[in-house]
């Protein structure tokens, strides 16, 4: 496996495509460029399907790559993915094809630059999921901002510059605070008093298989030879298991959490999101909602929870509440608050549909965060699956809003009504996605919301009750929106001659509908990919939690106080 470099190929193929477009095509060949770019995205998608060969029976990090990169600071070009990252990568490449295909008519200026930036964005995002080295991760994480900034700033709506700068600066603030945390973690890897306490079993648990564990050991050895620290993510997670719960761990947790919480976005750091979505072109919204938000939740899954396990499970550090209480509180507020804010755009007579979908994302990401901080296998499985599902249905809803915007050049709810009479196919797909968003059984969101809420219920039934309230509110505004747009008579003469979905539009909507049905009816193949990584994370946070087929982990004195909690 090691020599095939599948991860590097999946990561860098889009960049290669961007170079080809820059070098071989002229500015005025836009018809050719968009076809070539879409085909290239298709190629990247097919390449990423190789990752589905991930062996979930072995688990842990696979498809490993390890090369020297910047020896003076101990940063290495290390790549590896677990089942969670595999699913997110395949989602990314699938949405890449869809985003390119959906832009054919929508983008009417500077097509060459547009598709180049879209391809570069894909490299950055996939790189985030493939990195096993924190330095490399941080690099991709930051670089992903740049193409998005231009996508919003050049091809966006009226207020695009404000939205683009807000998006860039807001997320930069978070990631710079995170950088301080990264640096501290780097220096902790040189703290031999701390690292000496790491039990080999902990590393094996986190790496998941012998090959990955060997890679970690070799990078630790190399770092020791060169007198540097290491950025290896698994090594840093292992340090987390011996770090005492104190000001340092709590501060580190919040340093990382701020960076990721802004990206997620969690209440109250979400106000960049509606602006960015409203101004972004359709494909930008698709990537933003479908993938970029997941960088935040993935960060919590990969870094915050396993790297600071004591802080993640803590409920008493600030006296009557703890770190976990803060995260759960913000998640729940986000669920209710996002749903109510989304509802405002149907309560108001002339709401913007795109803003509604944007706020519904805030609510949905709250469900993911609630599932993650339930800290049990059900909650985490649900959260990870909800990341995928939200990627499917929010992307689909943004595409659908884009389709009607292309025809009417407005997204104002008051402009529509009775659309089901003239666009039956569009109405059917829209209904399928509205029902997915609500969480109708047999559609994908039902499974993930059920798992998340079941996990939350196990931790604390009241958390689950709040989550359920949010789901009711989501159903209320989604159904209301659908009624206002599609039912009744056509009052607006501009809507009388609208054409239904074209072949190209069907082509990019169909995969999303199929995926929603597939995950809704039989989610097991997807859950198989995430089961072992999720169990490892739960085991890292709660060494004694009973997981079938998994022995209890090594109990360290730093953790004993925490693991007695629920």
């Amino acid at each position: 496996m090691k020599s095939l470099h599948i991860l590097s190929i999946v990561t860098w193929v889009p960049t290669l495509g961007a170079i080809v477009i820059l070098a071989l095509f002229k500015k005025d060949q836009s018809a050719l460029i968009k076809k070539f770019a879409t085909a290239w995205f298709g190629l990247a998608f097919v390449a990423s399907l190789l990752l589905l060969k991930y062996d979930s029976a072995i688990g842990g990090m696979q498809f490993l790559e390890d090369h020297q990169w910047i020896p003076v600071i101990g940063a290495r070009y290390q790549m590896g993915v677990d089942g969670v990252a595999v699913l997110l990568i395949v989602l990314t490449t699938l949405l890449g094809v869809i985003a390119a295909l959906s832009s054919w008519k929508y983008i009417e200026k500077r097509e060459k630059e547009y598709y180049v930036l879209l391809l570069l964005l894909q490299t950055a995002v996939v790189g985030v999921f493939t990195s096993m080295d924190l330095f490399l991760f941080y690099l991709f994480f930051e670089v992903s901002l740049v193409p998005m900034y231009f996508l919003i700033g050049i091809w966006g709506g009226e207020n695009r510059l404000y939205a683009a700068i807000k998006f860039f600066l807001y997320t930069l603030v978070g990631s710079v605070v995170m950088l301080l945390g990264v640096l501290k973690m780097y220096f902790l890897t040189q703290d031999t008093a701390l690292t000496a306490q790491i039990a080999p079993a902990t590393l094996n648990l986190l790496a998941g298989n012998q090959e990955a564990a060997a890679m970690v050991s070799s990078s630790v050895q190399l770092a020791a030879q060169n007198g540097t620290g290491t950025f290896n993510i698994l090594r840093m997670q292992a340090i987390g298991s011996v770090m005492p719960l104190g000001a340092m761990q709590v501060l580190l947790f919040f340093a990382f959490a701020l960076g990721f919480a802004i990206k997620v976005p969690m209440f109250p750091f979400h106000t960049w999101l509606p602006d960015a979505h409203v101004e972004a072109p359709t494909a930008g919204s698709v990537i933003l909602a479908g993938i970029l938000l997941k960088l935040g939740t993935y960060g919590f899954f990969r870094f915050n929870i396993p790297m600071f396990p004591a802080a993640s499970a803590d409920e008493a550090y600030f006296g009557s509440f703890g770190v976990r209480s803060v995260m759960v509180f913000l998640a729940i507020v986000g669920i209710i608050y996002g749903a109510l804010a989304a509802m405002y755009f149907v309560v108001k007579k002339d709401g913007d549909v795109k803003k509604l979908v944007a706020y519904s994302s805030v609510s949905s990401m709250g469900i993911v965060m609630l599932g993650l901080f339930a800290l049990n296998p059900n909650g985490l499985n649900g959260a990870v699956l909800h990341m995928i599902n939200h990627g499917i249905y929010s992307a689909a809803l943004f595409l659908l809003v884009g389709i009607i915007y292309e025809r009417r050049h407005t997204r104002n709810v008051a402009e529509f009504g009775g659309l089901s009479h003239v666009m039956p196919g569009y109405a059917a797909v829209f209904l399928a996605m509205v029902m997915t968003a609500i969480g109708l059984p047999l559609l994908c969101v039902f499974v993930s919301e059920f798992l998340s809420l079941r996990g939350a219920f196990e931790a604390n039934p009241i958390w689950s009750a709040w989550g359920a309230l949010g789901i009711i509110l989501n159903a209320a505004y989604m159904l209301w929106l659908y009624q206002r747009m599609f039912f009744g008579t056509i009052d607006n003469p501009k809507n009388e001659k609208l054409t239904d979905l074209s072949g190209r539009e069907w082509a990019y909507m169909a995969p999303l509908v199929i995926m929603s049905l597939w995950i809704g009816i039989y989610p097991q193949p997807f859950l198989n990919y995430v089961a072992r990584p999720v169990n490892a994370v739960v085991r890292q946070v709660r060494p004694t939690y009973p997981i079938p087929g998994m022995p209890p982990a090594v109990q360290t004195p730093q953790r004993a106080a925490v693991t007695n909690q629920k």
């Binding site: 109250p268 608050y337 109510l340 804010a341 509802m343 405002y344 309560v347």
Partner: protein, 216 residues
């Protein structure tokens, strides 16, 4: 009472309430459930204690149901087939009752007022907070950054750079008379200065050697 489960044991007389309990080894002794349920006042019990037969009890209830259904069907026939003016007359006679029934006892209106309207108010309130307070804070911090950058810029322009310019002006004022005085235009003066410079340079370079040579 809990019995350990022995494979192949005689389970006569026990009722397994929950199939999973048997796996877990928890069994409960048999209980014959009382007919018609057992808690509180029970109409079936009341009837049965008078007629003393289960079959008869069943028949009593069957007949009552049939009578009620027949009454309903008969009234429906009378009101809506036989004489269609009857519904209006009776609706007028039992006005309040008719209205309450017609409006489903205003349950929908109550929910609409107590739940739907309040949720809509909450949605408006949340959006107002979001756009004014939260986004206001974000834009406020952006304004603060711009403001402090302007203060810094003006300070730099007028104070820091002003200080530099003031020093420069001071130097120019002080030194320019001296330098101006030196610029005489006489070639011999310049030559004299050059010679002085040459002597000084020689002195610096070879001074130590010359002094040493004399001392020797």
């Amino acid at each position: 009472m809990r019995f350990p489960v022995v494979p192949g044991a005689n389970l006569d007389g026990v009722v397994v309430r929950d199939p999973q309990c048997a796996v877990a080894g928890e069994l409960e002794p048999a209980q014959t459930p009382p007919p018609y349920g057992s808690e509180g006042f029970n109409l079936a019990h009341a009837v049965e204690s008078n007629v003393h037969s289960e079959t008869l009890t069943e028949w009593v209830f069957i007949l009552i149901s049939l009578a009620v259904a027949g009454l309903g069907i008969g009234l429906g026939f009378l009101f809506y087939v036989k004489d269609t003016s009857l519904p209006e007359i009776w609706a007028a006679r039992l006005r309040p009752l008719y209205q309450a029934s017609y409006h489903k006892y205003w349950v929908d209106e109550f929910y609409g007022w107590a739940v739907t309207r309040r949720v809509m108010d909450a949605a408006r309130g949340v959006y107002a907070v979001d756009s004014k307070v939260l986004d206001g804070a974000v834009n406020g911090s952006a304004w603060l950054t711009r403001f402090s950058s302007r203060v810094t810029g003006l300070t730099d322009q007028y104070f820091v750079d002003g200080l530099v310019n003031a020093i420069a002006a001071f130097v120019i004022r002080l030194m320019s008379p001296l330098f101006r005085a030196a610029q005489t235009g006489f070639t011999q003066n310049y030559a004299f200065v050059m010679v002085l410079g040459l002597v000084a340079a020689l002195g610096v370079i070879f001074g130590a050697d010359i002094i040493g040579w004399f001392k020797h």
